[in-house]
Amino acid sequence: MIKYFYTDGNAKFGPFTKEELKMQKITRDTKIWYYGIEKWTELSNIKELNDIFTSIPPNITNPYLNNNKDKSIDSLIHQKTPLIKVNTNSISKSNIKKWAIGILSVLTISIVVHKLIKYQSKIKLYNIIVADSYESDDNFEVYVDKFYRDLEFHGIFPKKPKKTIIKFSKLDQLDNTTHIHGVCFGSNDDDIIEIYLNPSTWKQFNKPMRHYLMYHELAHDILNLDDLPVNQMNEGKIMFPELSHYENKKMDDFIESSHALFIEQSLK
């Protein structure tokens, strides 16, 4: 008597007699093998099992299962997980996906709009500052040279842009700006150093404060560093934004602060 084996694609089941095979959860596409044929063959292609083939209803397509569109409803019936649950999960995942896409889209649009507004106000601010800017008698290039010299001394070699703009602009007469001492527009652009200083601040500042201000702005511009949070721990550091607190600082304080910054950067 011929003994039949069938496979679900993963495991092999059998041997079964023809009668026993009828009782198995097979479909019209189930592949069958028995001693005497060379390879696994679909049930529909085995003549002697034609009566079993005709006794099994044909496959239907489940519209909810895009990924399983080739699978018959029968094959789904044969899955360990009930069909209804599979459908629920699929619907739920699909909904979550749609929601997520929706939220992400809203967020992206918000960020883009926010950035656009910010960019536009920055452009507006930039245009005002540039329009009001003028050359100073002070030689600011000296500070740039010293900054690069100190960077190199600490083993940091950033690109030195060919274009350097350091000018005075009356920053304290601007609205909506916190940078009343200086502002830099060259950060994240390695091809230019662009800094505007408040002339009244510059006049008021003593030698150490001028060095603090120039190194602060140059660190923004060349090293792309941000301001540090205003707290006691950061007081005295080059990237501390409230430089007006540095009235009593000496050149020694500036020197040791700049060394600390460069050592920190060189370790990065």
């Binding site: 010293k146 001394f153 020694d252 500036f254 020197i255």
Partner: protein
Amino acid sequence: MKLNILLVIINFYSIQLFSQILTTSDIRQIAIEVNNEIKGVNFGNGIKAKGCFSFGRKLIYQYNVPQSWEPSVNIKKEIISNMKIAGPAKTYFLQNIDVDYHYYKGNSLFKKISIKSLEFSNYNFQLGEYISINNHIKAKEVNMKLKVPDGWEVKEGDRPNVVKKLVYDGSTYLILIKENATFFSRNQIKKMLNEKDFASESVQEISSLLSNPVIVNQSIVTIDTYPAFQFKIKGNVERTGIKISVIMKCWIVFYEDKIIFLQSMGNDNLEFRALEQLYTLITNSVIFPDQYN
């Protein structure tokens, strides 16, 4: 008459110029010899030499004068002037010997004249007005000022980095400023100066100017709150085929991101050693005004 008396005194004591620094025992020996020569000698007009003795690096001449004797108003100036003309003034100055003249009427000291060795010098050890190198093209933004000795000329430096030079009769004091590798705070420099290599590297630049350089002495000092390295070095220099023994007294001041050399140089003789005091006075007058703003 008074002037004559002084000249006679000078003629009695004319010590030769010594090439070595006299010790206090050398000075004592000279005093004994002079005492033997002049004791009881009558200079005329009733003035007699009472004797000569030494006290440390001071020579003290004693005279008996008649009751009618009165010193001139400018007797000290006249003595110094005559000493300079006659020669011993230079020896007193170079050998760092102070001289006292005591005039007795009977057993009472009637007049005492004290002359410090520096007062015998042709150099003026009085410092004059401050000069500033602020905004000088070679000063590299160093704001520094110092006092110039009276009578010294302030000249521009010819060589690169030489900001100014103070000149008097072949003696020179240079102000030279160079860039340092980066900024250094005073505390950082103090620590570095205590490292042997750092100190010797600092001297090397100066010593390279000399052949067979020998460091006579060195120490860490402070010049207007800034740490400095002070040293004296001697060696030879060759000028148009002639080898000259020279001696230099230098101060290297580490100021922010600059190195300031205060440099004096002269022939290796007693005159330079005497002038060291003047160079030290100039260096002590240095002020860096920016730190006080």
